[in-house]
């Protein structure tokens, strides 16, 4: 590993302010982007593998291969959002700086995911339940995301109006990320379901969120329940 790469990776974790300052000044964008891409790929690949380890076998490989793509595709969609939002909030910056900032923030998240991966792997082995695995994985992702938000906030310029801009960009990023991850399911895989690379398209994340909300309130979608029942029967699965 070159000294430059190692230095940038260390700075991503330990000195987010210096990374944000470099990006704001347009300095070292390539070395930051190079280190960020590497961190993003490695961090999400390992974390994906750990998430897939809940089910084991081929799902580890599938989840490890898919999670970097969730990050990449989300970034490809949310960088233009950040760029446009900055212009709308009257603090325009070159597109390259918006790309580098989002990339660096995501890389910091990925590095924290990498750090959390061993603990999550252990927890998944100890707590075998599907729902516990979902909650733990989501919590880990949320915790790592906070590290990325810190860098993003620092890179958004003067304090006045920064919170609103951050809220807007984060909302867009979270929605995009959730939809992309939803499109590339399954991740943990229920014990009753088959291991596949990607499930056929089925609604959107927002629809699923609404459905889950109704289910939690005791209101069930009978059409969907019947379709699932038919699917289970076709696979010969117990109810």
């Amino acid at each position: 590993m070159s000294a430059d790469l190692s230095h940038t990776l260390t700075a991503l974790l330990r000195s987010p302010a210096s990374i944000a300052a470099s990006i704001t000044e347009g300095r070292d964008l390539r070395s930051i982007a190079r280190a960020s891409l590497l961190a993003l790929l490695v961090g999400t690949l390992v974390f994906g593998g750990v998430v897939g380890s809940h089910r084991g076998s081929l799902q580890m490989l599938y989840a490890a291969l898919k999670l970097p793509w969730v990050s990449m595709l989300t970034l490809a969609l949310s960088v233009p959002v950040l760029h446009g939002a900055r212009a709308a909030f009257e603090r325009p910056e070159p597109f390259a700086q918006s790309a580098a900032l989002m990339l660096a923030a995501s890389a910091r998240t990925a590095l924290v995911l990498l750090a959390l991966a061993p603990a999550l792997a252990l927890a998944l082995q100890v707590l075998r339940g599907y729902h516990a695995a979902v909650v733990l994985s989501a919590l880990s992702y949320g915790l790592a995301g906070l590290a990325g938000v810190g860098l993003l906030r620092r890179g958004l310029g003067p304090a006045e109006g920064r919170l609103a801009l951050l809220g807007f960009v984060l909302s867009a990023h979270l929605l995009t990320s959730a939809q992309v991850a939803w499109g590339l399911r399954p991740w943990l895989v229920r014990p009753s379901a088959d291991v596949v690379l990607v499930r056929p398209p089925e609604g959107t994340f927002a629809e699923e969120l609404a459905r889950a909300g109704f289910s939690a309130a005791g209101i069930y979608d009978s059409t969907r329940s019947k379709a699932r029942e038919a699917e289970r029967r076709a696979h010969g699965e117990p109810r």
Partner: protein, 213 residues
């Protein structure tokens, strides 16, 4: 997916050709192929001109003098007076100080940091009978600008004085090598250079602890 990688392959070819070394070409090609929506704008952006080591000014004089002094004592008993490791540490301190001077020069050169402008603004506000709060803000701004200018002047002076001292050290060492000289005197000069170099890092702190005039 094929379209994504198709565009990525095109970006990889175009962007890799812009790189100078095979390693950089390989890295750029891989990054562009996998993440062209993110990498391409960054690779196509222009970096601001890097501030390389200057070849003029006190920093260059100091570095040159240290290099020549090192050369003069190499392979002689005088080498113990000026170890390579000490010279490396001095170079690093001088580079830091020089960078600070560059940053301060850039800050002082900003139109918003023009002391004349800030003074005129303060006088204008006083003439208008502005509120005490507005006047206090303008005074703080002017005071900050003047402190920045003083700091820059102090850093420049420290580097100039160090450059003179390094020149003296070099000539002393060259003389000692060929004509013999008082080692004690040379040791004192080396100590003085080391102390001045250490002092470079303390210039900011000195400014911070000083009471305002």
């Amino acid at each position: 997916m094929p379209m994504y990688f198709g565009v990525g392959a095109l970006a990889a070819v175009v962007l890799a050709r812009r790189e100078a070394t095979p390693a950089a070409r390989a890295t750029t090609a891989a990054a562009a192929l996998l993440a062209w929506p993110l990498w391409a704008p960054i690779a196509l952006s222009r970096e601001p001109p890097a501030r390389g080591p200057s070849t003029r000014g006190p920093e260059a004089r100091i570095l040159r003098a240290l290099e020549e002094a090192l050369e003069a004592v190499r392979g002689t008993p005088l080498a113990t007076l000026l170890p390579q490791r000490s010279v490396e540490a001095m170079r690093a301190s001088v580079a830091r100080a020089s960078q600070r001077v560059g940053e301060l020069e850039a800050a002082v050169a900003l139109p918003s940091h023009d002391p004349e402008r800030a003074r005129r603004r303060l006088e204008g506000l006083e003439a208008e009978g502005a509120s005490s709060r507005t006047l206090a803000t303008a005074r703080v701004h002017l005071d900050n600008i003047e402190r920045l200018a003083r700091l820059l002047s102090r850093e420049r002076r420290a580097l100039d004085e160090l450059a003179d001292l390094c020149d003296a050290l070099r000539s002393q060492l060259v003389l000692a090598r060929y004509a013999g000289s008082n080692l004690h005197g040379i040791g004192d000069t080396v100590d003085e250079v080391a102390a001045r170099v250490d002092g470079l890092d303390g210039v900011f702190h000195l400014e911070e602890t000083e009471a305002p005039p």
